[in-house]
Amino acid sequence: MANQAERTHAGIVLAAGSGTRVGNSRNKVYLPLAGRRIVTWSLEVFRKIPGIGRLVLVVRDDDRELAAEVLDRELPGVPVDLVTGGDTRHESEYRALLHLAGEIRRGAIEVVLVHDAARPLAPVRIVEEVLATAIQSGSAIPALPCEDVVGVDEHGRMSHAGSGMVRVQTPQAFRSGPLLAAYQAAASDGFTGTDTASCVERYEGLPVQVVAGDPRNIKVTYPDDLFTAELILTTSGYQL
């Protein structure tokens, strides 16, 4: 078992399933944004947290070369492990966890944070909060209240007001042991979760603690998101 001084936290950035790819098109997480690639910004936030000592980038097999080149150019000297992802988000997470499994079993990794590469603007404050909450209670996800959401029944009628509904963001943080155990149990069952929290809740019964998200922590989905992201980065002096 690793002693306290050897323990660290790991950040996993998922870039294997970011959008569809057609013909010669590129994975959107390698688009330039304010002088760096989107994926670099997404990794950079983990690099700013002193407690996060392990970084893993999950990529598509045919993006490996590009990913290595981007890391060498934009995050020189920062050790980032490249892991080939699977067909689903769930499978990509599992492969990243298997990559870290030895260290998790030795107790060298306390908390694992899982982040979407397409969210380049996660503020440091969110990462610190999910990490601190996961250390204390086992798991944490950032979310924003979405008060304008309502349910609709099969006849198209409003069925209930959307109070208590939240819009989930990343990074999500979990104690590494239960997280790995949940994914191993899911693999034996053939279960595929929609996000990390759903798998941990189902197999480990860990209550997932919600911390305040941030409206700036957008996921690049539409072209407008790119322009918004660039504006947020430039107006914040590139310090989120």
Partner: protein, 104 residues
């Protein structure tokens, strides 16, 4: 970095995921065009030109530091790539100016 990138993004206008052509002026986003419906999102050109000038100043100021970092890390590939990079520079600048003046 190239100044035109093709990626799949969702389109607000025609809905669904489609190829988009994303054009940059230097490091700045200039426009996005949906290949399915032609829906275009673009920065206003005067604003883009102002931002571009500020960005070029920054690029010029930081160039020596960036070059030095590359020389230290990859001296051989730096030396091999330098002539090509110098030769390609005028065409690259011309492409950026064409974007800034709406000629592409």
């Amino acid at each position: 970095m190239d100044n035109v990138h093709i990626v799949v993004l969702d389109c607000h206008h025609c809905r669904g995921e489609h190829l988009h052509e994303i054009t940059y002026a230097g490091r700045l986003l200039a426009s996005s065009v949906c290949s399915n419906c032609g829906h275009t999102v673009a920065r206003d050109l005067p604003g883009l030109r102002r931002a571009y000038i500020a960005d070029v100043e920054h690029r010029v100021r930081t160039k020596p530091r960036r070059m030095l970092r590359r020389v230290i890390r990859h001296p051989v590939s730096f030396a091999l790539d330098l002539p090509g990079a110098l030769l390609a520079k005028p065409a690259k600048m011309e492409a950026e100016l064409r974007v800034l003046y709406g000629r592409r």
